[in-house]
């Protein structure tokens, strides 16, 4: 009788173990974003303009270089930081000056931002300055969009596509 009770209690304890696993492995449900929301992703991978323009070396400067290293033109590597702003419905949602990557600051400026917004109509304005010598913004794009529920709208930037891409 005692043995039977022991086996029964073992069954109950094993049962409690698998109920815990079975439940917590799928529940409670987590809401990442509501059904009536949408997402705008702002992303950038872009190298700013060179901070200093390339210049021709004089004959004296060339002579000072080792014969196998002689070039006529040198281009300083450092890139301009990139200033990026995003306004949604007139409200400034993102503003940052992105430092170029790399030890010599000669790499891309990068960012990735995710904004959760209500589904529906929105006015977007994205603007960017990739040259410290230029005042204001040298790239800008404005568009009214209608986002369906759970839609992901991507704002990317590519110079080969003439600037901002709204997708």
């Amino acid at each position: 009788m005692i043995q039977l009770l022991r086996y029964t209690s073992q069954l109950l304890l094993y049962g409690a173990f698998i109920v815990t696993i079975g439940y917590a492995s799928t529940a409670p449900t987590h809401t990442h974003i509501g059904d009536n929301k949408a997402v705008i992703k702002l992303t950038l991978k872009h190298a700013g303009q060179r901070l200093e323009a390339c210049r021709q070396l004089s004959e004296e400067e060339q002579a000072r270089l080792a014969p196998n290293m002689r070039v006529k033109e040198v281009c300083p590597r450092e890139r301009s930081p990139v200033k990026l702003e995003l306004l949604i419905d007139g409200e400034l949602m993102y503003s940052a000056t992105l430092t170029p990557g790399g030890l010599s600051r000669d790499g891309n400026s990068n960012t990735y931002q995710r904004f959760v917004v209500p589904a529906g109509k929105h006015a977007l304005l994205a603007r960017l300055n990739d040259d410290v010598h230029v005042k204001g913004f040298n790239y800008e794009k404005e568009q009214d969009i209608t986002l369906s529920p759970l839609q992901i709208f991507v704002i990317d930037f590519r110079t080969d596509s003439d600037g901002f891409i709204f997708n």
Binding site: R6, S9, Q10, L13, Y14, G15, F17, I18, T20, I21, G22, A24, S25, T26, A27, P28, T29, H30, T31, H32, I33, G34, D35, K37, A38, V39, K41, T43, K45, G101, G102, G107, N108, N110, T111, Y112, R114, L150, Q151, I152, V154, D156, N167
Partner: protein
């Protein structure tokens, strides 16, 4: 504060374990095998994973459909293996977490035990990296959620220049090669996990990586039942053009993501790093646990290797003889690995209390628990006992608090571990009539604080392990009772029952051969 938390946790564990002791018995209580159960669940995950891998397609479209094929079309095998894979990995998180918590509250993480504790911290990270990586492979909505959140979390690190999250901005940004990388990681990280698991047990002698067979059978049956009742299924396929809304996440592994949503990636990094660092440094936080290590007395060490075989932490090595005595080897103690349990002292054949002509100095000894003092304590304390139900109660630091045991006809002596008592002392107590019986008590049978104290002692008493209790000692006068710290009442009842048995047995009468030997002076006398 830390001490208070530890004591409270210990109180909770002991009461919970008491329930399991009633059901499973204290030799098969799952709480005493949490580490080995975690190992066992790892093997279930590994074996089931091998089967799943044979059918898995490493491509964006193939990943989801191949898992669906296993789950739906091949539910009887592939589906069951998938469920086992998932639920056993959840069980591994539970047993690993409880194992860590239990070692903490039972004070088994400091001193020499720091190594296992310390190497357990990267194990947590690796278990989570393995488990979370597995969820990516399914490429359903949960995988999409994890992919985006994990990359956003990693992107917080300043060393990452180009955001990883760019790889998941839309369907077009992802390629099949990503799934090859994921599959590679999901095999590589668990292999690394296995390596660290192996390192984790390196400082243990005879590590218990397998739980008792009954627990293995019970656990796998439980996992099978769960797999059949509630098979693991995928959620809707991932679509990077649409955001995930509500998902049924596995809270054992993925609780960090909702936490990150509530706070930030930076907060999660700080939390995870701070908790890991705190846990890693715990063994060196006050109060420090430093007991003097055992010392080898070479004059009395004959290099028999029993201490070497019985040490639970491999703190003793056998080296070539250095003192010119005619023995091949000698014991050497690595102080940094000795937990001062005294199991080696109990194993030493030279630790006999019958010696009187030479001083009682065994081949190996605990400096703060010399055997000579123990013999004197036995003689002095038992001298106060009267009648024919005199009981010498011997216990350890982790069993019932013997200071609170006050019974007529009973004296109590505490040792670091009861297995630190050489069996010859039991012979000494009974044959010299210092007491009518000896009751040995300590931790729960399956949960010796010093790992093998109970097992070794029982084998020595049963004549299955050196040094064995001499056959002339009547076994009915030696009783073991394993009840842990909270077994005070049961111990009192056991002592009372033992005293009744002793009354029936009457006073001890030594065998005639022993009487003749003592009379002729061939045995040293106390």
């Amino acid at each position: 504060m830390l001490n208070w938390l530890r004591l409270s946790g210990r109180y909770l564990f002991e009461h919970l374990e008491a329930v399991f002791n009633v059901s499973f018995g204290d030799r098969y209580n799952p709480f005493y095998y949490l580490g080995s159960l975690a190992f066992f669940f790892f093997w279930i995950v590994a074996v089931s994973g091998l089967y799943l891998y044979a059918f898995f397609e490493t491509s964006m479209l193939g990943a989801y459909s191949s898992i669906e094929y296993l789950t739906v079309d091949q539910w009887y095998l592939g589906g069951v293996f998938r469920s086992l894979h998932r639920y056993a990995s959840d069980a591994m998180v539970i047993t690993m977490g409880l194992h860590m918590l239990r070692e903490l509250v039972m004070d088994r993480y400091r001193g020499v035990r720091w190594f296992s504790w310390f190497t357990g911290i990267p194990l947590i990270w690796l278990v989570y990296a393995s488990g979370i990586g597995g969820y990516w492979l399914v490429w359903d909505q949960m995988a999409q959620y994890i992919a985006v959140m994990t990359s956003e979390w990693l992107d917080w690190l300043p060393i990452i220049n180009e955001p990883m999250a760019r790889n998941f901005i839309n369907q077009a940004s992802l390629s099949d090669r990503f799934f090859s990388l994921l599959a590679f990681l999901h095999i590589g990280i668990p292999l690394m996990l296995l390596l660290v698991m192996w390192i984790h047990i390196q400082r243990l002698s005879n590590p218990r990586t397998n739980p008792p067979r009954v627990l293995m059978v019970g656990s796998i049956l439980a996992m099978l039942v769960l797999s059949l009742i509630k098979p693991a299924v995928s959620q809707a396929p991932a679509n990077l053009d649409l955001s995930v809304s509500t998902i049924d996440i596995d809270w054992f592994y993925l609780f960090v993501y909702p936490l990150m949503e509530k706070t930030s990636a930076g907060t999660l990094w700080i939390l995870a790093s701070a908790i890991s660092l705190f846990l890693a440094l715990l063994p060196w936080m006050p109060p420090l646990l430093r007991k003097p290590a055992v010392v080898v007395n070479l004059d009395n060490c004959n290099g028999c290797e029993r201490c070497y075989e019985d040490c639970p932490y491999s703190a003793i090595t056998m080296e070539p003889r250095s003192d010119g005595l005619d023995f091949e080897k000698q014991a050497m103690v690595q102080d940094s690995m000795c937990i001062s349990c005294g199991l080696c002292v109990g194993a030493c054949p030279t630790a006999t209390p019958f010696r009187r002509k030479t001083d009682l100095i065994p081949g190996i000894e605990l400096p703060d628990h010399p055997l000579k003092a123990l013999r004197e304590a036995i003689i002095e304390q038992t001298a106060t006992l009267e009648g024919d139900q005199r009981v010498l109660l011997m216990g350890c630091d982790y069993g019932v608090n013997l200071d609170k045991v006050a019974l007529p006809g009973v004296v109590a002596i505490k040792l670091p571990c009861v297995a630190a008592l050489p069996p010859s002392f039991l012979d000494f107590v009974i044959s010299r009539k210092h007491a009518d019986g000896v009751l040995l008590t300590g931790c729960h049978a399956g949960d010796c604080h010093e790992r093998f104290g109970i097992e070794w002692l029982e084998q020595r008493l049963a004549g299955k392990r050196d040094p064995m209790l001499r056959k002339r000692v009547p076994r009915e006068r030696i009783v073991t009772f394993w009840a842990g710290e909270e077994g005070g009442r049961k111990l009192l009842a056991e002592v009372s029952r033992f005293q009744q048995d002793l009354a029936v047995l009457g006073p001890y009468t030594p065998p005639q051969s022993d009487v003749r030997r003592r009379a002729s002076g061939t045995e040293e006398s106390a």
